[in-house]
Amino acid sequence: MRIRFLKPKITATALVCLLSALVVSKSFGQLRVEIRRGVERPVPMAIVPFSWDGFGSVSPFDVSGLVTADLVSSGRFVPMEVRDMVSLPSLPEDVRFQDWRISEVDYLVIGRVIEDSFDAYTIVFQLYDVLRGEPIVGYRLTASGAELRTASHRISDMIYEELTGLQGVFGTQIAYVSEQQEGGEARFRLIVSDADGANPIVVADSPDPLMSPAWSPDGRRIAYVSFEGSQSSVYIQTLRTGVRERVSARAGINGAPVFSPDGRYLALTLSRDEGNSDIYMLEIATQALTRLTQHSAIDTEAVWAPDGQSIYFTSGRAGGPQIYQVAARAGARAQRVTFEGSYNARPRISPGGDRLAVVHEDRGNYRIALVDPETGLTQVLSSGRQDESPSFAPNGALIIYASQEGGRGVLASVSTDGRIHQQIVSVAGQVREPAWSPFPRI
């Protein structure tokens, strides 16, 4: 897929690497996203159905339909119904701003899908500021048929970024674990899908539990825990090829893997022979192991600070679990980070490094909270009974987490300002442990 900036002229071309689907499973753990609560005054806009210029009567993919769905799902926009539109322009010269001002929309998107040759498409779109009667931005993208969905998410990202100042995450992915009863037996799957739940790919499938998926910083690999053979092991699997490598299968716990920001190390939890959980740093290429914590209490759930110089982790050393920070070298001293409440666990760090998302016990309920690592100030974001496994979107504006509804494991997301709540329901089975991918490399 190529993307060209139209105004001012052509300044950028880019290629999007697509994950090739290894196994596509429509019936297992596919997700459906519903907005539970958006911003109080979402921005009204109009996305005119893109015109189709090619063989056949309709475009092979509804580009503007997916862009509309993406922007609705962000909770920040209300797109106008197509049937209420006075005109359906697809070319800049056909736009009459008066038509859109009377409809009280702030922004307008028009575009075209053009079939250049067999399996080669060009999408052109423009975004307008209706009140000022001016174009804001326009792009030209080229894509194969298989890339039209990804191209549509890229368009959503570009519009979202122009209008909010935040990088869009419609083109990102999530990894999660699904569990489904099949013939009286539990079946565990590690799934990677688009952020909107589309294109679920089964990365691993096992009768034994799968846990703790974590993305490599380049988005190409996933580390996870598998209990196949009745023991825990940590694997790193390359998504494109499906090839996996067992990187830790020591006695006791092999758990909670996370990649360092440079992708060279895993921090992970091992209990080894003495049976006590501590955090280690494993150099992936050499298998060299460095012990980072040494305490008789449980130390686990490491996450790297964005600069790679330290890790945050959960420790039970004060009685109940709390978050601590320790330098990423042998023999460093850990500092306690959380002080509010009796239970703070499973930290994840925002991309900017200024906020931790944690599981926080709030009057008997386990909820997602944001913690300022400097001050320890804690702000509860979610409202479930059993919320866990928070993961930041790569733009830092959203957190996806696992929740329960009617005794079923579901996923949910909340904006870090607490204003936008989404429920993400699995079509079949239970889902949990979501991990948001990095931005796709373009």
């Binding site: 539990a186 539990p209 846990m211 703790s212 209990f227 009745s230 023991q231 825990s232 006791g252 716990i253 758990g255 909670a256 939890t269 209990s271 049976g275 006590n276 959980s277 449980i298 130390d299 686990t300 759930e301 959960t314 039970g316 109940g320 679990p321 239970y343 666990a345 499973r346 599981v359 016990e361 386990y366 009974r385 059993q386 866990e388 496994s389 329960q404 005794g407 949990r432 442990e433």
Partner: protein, 178 residues
């Protein structure tokens, strides 16, 4: 291996047609003596059929069978704790003794937690519980090579549901003889 032995022992004794007297098991104190009694001269697995000599038939209790302490294979824990409650002492003594007298026996200690709290922390908790059981079995004479541990945390609940009954049944260590 031990399973095979159990089947053989039962078949041998059944063939003798005598009454199968299970070992006394109601009192904690009798366990050590009883267990060593059954193993008696045997180091191997096939010498139990003393009933053929016309004496009382003695069936060695196998883990998970019968009604005695050795029949119990699950130890339960309090919330966020890994200390062994005293009501499991007799059971663990019986298993320790069994392992001490059956060098070939191997058991995997599977630690579990209830669903509350974060998943990997619960893996740590399940491992602590499995290790607490392991330490007691070692004190009772089991050897390290007989004992494996694995923690499933909250991933394999014995009972599903978000209530106190499910929670108390899920905070456990299961003894899984191989």
């Amino acid at each position: 291996m031990t399973r095979t032995f159990a089947v053989i022992a039962i078949l041998v004794l059944a063939g003798c047609g005598g009454d199968n007297a299970t070992l006394p098991d109601s009192e904690t104190g009798s366990q050590a003596g009883a267990a060593s009694n059954t193993s008696g001269s045997s180091t191997g697995a096939t010498t139990t059929g003393t009933g053929a000599m016309g004496g009382p038939n003695v069936v060695r209790e196998m883990p998970g069978e019968g009604t005695g302490p050795l029949s119990r294979l699950v130890i339960y824990f309090d919330y966020d704790r890994s200390e062994i409650r005293s009501d499991f002492n007799s059971m663990l003594a019986a298993h320790g003794e069994y392992l001490a007298t059956n060098n070939g026996a191997q058991v995997r200690l599977e630690g579990h937690a209830d669903e509350r709290g974060s998943r990997e922390y619960n893996i740590g908790l399940g491992e602590q519980r499995a290790q607490a059981v392991r330490r007691i079995l070692l004190l009772q004479g089991a050897t390290a090579s007989q004992l494996g541990t694995v923690s499933y945390g909250e991933e394999r609940p014995a009972m599903s549901g978000s209530n106190d009954e499910a929670y108390s049944l899920n905070r456990r260590v299961e003894l899984v003889y191989q």
